[in-house]
Symmetry: C2
Subunit: 300 residues, 2 copies
DNA sequence: TTGCTCCTCACGTCACGTGAGGTGGC
DNA sequence: TTGCTCCTCACGTCACGTGAGGTGGC
């Protein structure tokens, strides 16, 4: 009742709990963890301001969405949305894993042996490990993209010795690759451009590429005009001065110098037959493209 | 090395850990929890038999699939698959919830306010609560069916006072409804018949019913023969002596006497506009059916 | 005796829940 | 003084991880 006053708007923990739907204990816990620091009166009572309540509401939502307490601070003080994007992709990885596990539960019910399931589980865990590391190794948009791109090819377990070795090689490459960091202004640029790029859109991109790879010649014919425009744009000074050009260059340098083509890609081919097939298609499409446009020596 | 002998095949904890991929601590923990009781030597050392190892492997798989330790015992000693089915549905409920949460994370990234999300989260939690209780209230197949059937209609939050009251009424009904237990032989029968009925098939059933409800007259025309056969089967003595008949009768009695039609269904209509629409369609379809077959006074 | 395994406490983790015991305000 | 809130320990949860300290076998 004392808090109906709209101007003062500060309250003790009971009122804060009622307004946010959190328990007192949860609120004190968040205070202990440093997520918020309400002012205290002389008697030690906490006084929660309007902003504290807003913060508590945000914390409550994030907790319910599954964000760990020690991951909340970055999200709250994050204006670019980068932290949220990372969470979003991690959530997607987790969901894929759970989906796969549900499928295994079905198989178990259908009479599969525990032994079969062990293999399948290993594949699921490996997949998640690699995805996690891809997300770490590449900044912002590229992390999300590679993560979803390569995840498709990691659904089978590493059965043979060679596959297991390849898997270890992949992990090692991703853990030890030189850190790829864009200069701050390029980071901001990329973040701005790509922040509205959802996981679904990335999936669409991937599906598109698959269409292309199936019939590269047809694709090149059908999109002749667009390709021409893109090629002439790439020649232009405007492009060469744009941040996109610099980002592309940094990526190319990284891939050339880090051992991406010498270690990572061959290991992927060894580990995953489906990736090997994909890589072959990619090379064929590239060849078709070079035939059509002999002056280009691009790679993707 | 000492354990290469195929006949003796018993080992201490280190070897057991190597063979199962579990840690020693995990194994001792499962022993403490009573999931297995390896024999012990005089010096207190545990001796793991072949069966112990099999059990540990099973436990390992189940743990990785997300089954809690205190839920594992029923699964291990469950020959009918009932325990696994329950887990499977719970997993499906959980996945739906996580999926919804991922969607909310996307909305948050897209600039949604925490306030909007609070409402949406409430809906998700409510949905899961009701689903959980439906699974509890109805035995085996019916639990799974009702769970997935009604879950579709609970995606919106309870906004108005009336909706919130309806939600409370639903929870109260499900918590306090008289326990619906089939006699053991009917349970076994149902379990046998329905154990291979996956969540996907239930979803298919639901989709089928939706088709029917859209154009009941067409459906009745198209499936004239099948309906006739079904109706004459229902009249037959063979049907009246079958367990199916008894199960149906028990379900009908339960629904008539428990307040299902007086409390639960009206509350669902109040809470969920989409369920209200569905119920209307259902009544229309029923009417169409009765017009066609005036002697039947069935309800579904 | 040395180095190895095995054993059983005991404490830590994560995000709070649940009292217990004490103080402050009216 | 009574009944209320607030405060800070302290212990419990779940499924183990991580030593510590002690025993047994070769």
């Amino acid at each position: 009742m004392a808090y109906d006053n709209h101007e003062v708007m500060s309250m003790q923990i009971h009122e804060a709990a009622v307004r946010t739907g959190l328990t007192k204990k949860a609120i004190t816990y968040y205070c202990e963890q440093g997520l918020l620091s309400p002012s205290t009166l002389e008697n030690g009572y906490r006084e929660f301001s309007r902003q504290d309540i807003d913060k508590l509401n945000a914390i409550s939502v994030l907790r319910k969405l599954g964000v760990a307490v020690n991951e909340i601070q970055p999200v709250l003080s994050d204006s670019t949305g980068e932290a949220l994007q990372r969470l979003s992709v991690r959530m997607e990885i987790k969901l894929q894993r759970e989906q796969a596990k549900k499928e295994l539960l079905r198989k178990l019910r259908a009479g599969a042996s525990y032994k079969e399931l062990q293999k399948a589980l290993e594949a699921i865990e490996n997949n998640a490990e690699v995805a996690q590391r891809l997300l770490q190794a590449f900044p912002s948009f590229y992390g999300r993209f590679f993560c979803l791109h390569f995840a498709r090819f990691l659904q089978q377990p590493a059965v043979t010795e060679r596959q297991q070795a390849a898997y270890r090689q992949i992990i090692e490459f991703l853990d030890n690759a030189p850190e790829l960091q864009f200069p701050i202004e390029l980071q901001d640029y990329l973040q701005n451009i790509m922040q509205d790029f959802s996981e679904e859109q990335i999936h669409d991109m991937i599906a598109n590429t698959q269409e292309l790879l199936k019939q590269p010649d047809k694709y090149i014919r059908d999109h002749h005009d667009a390709i021409e425009r893109y090629r002439s744009f790439k020649q232009s000074g405007a492009y060469r001065r744009s941040p996109v050009f610099q980002i592309q260059k940094l990526m190319k340098d990284f891939m050339a110098s880090s051992g991406y083509y010498e270690n990572f890609i061959p290991a992927m081919k060894e580990l995953s037959p489906s990736y090997a097939a994909y890589a072959k298609q990619l090379e064929a499409a590239n060849a078709a493209f070079v035939t059509q446009y002999p002056d280009s020596a691009s790679q993707d």
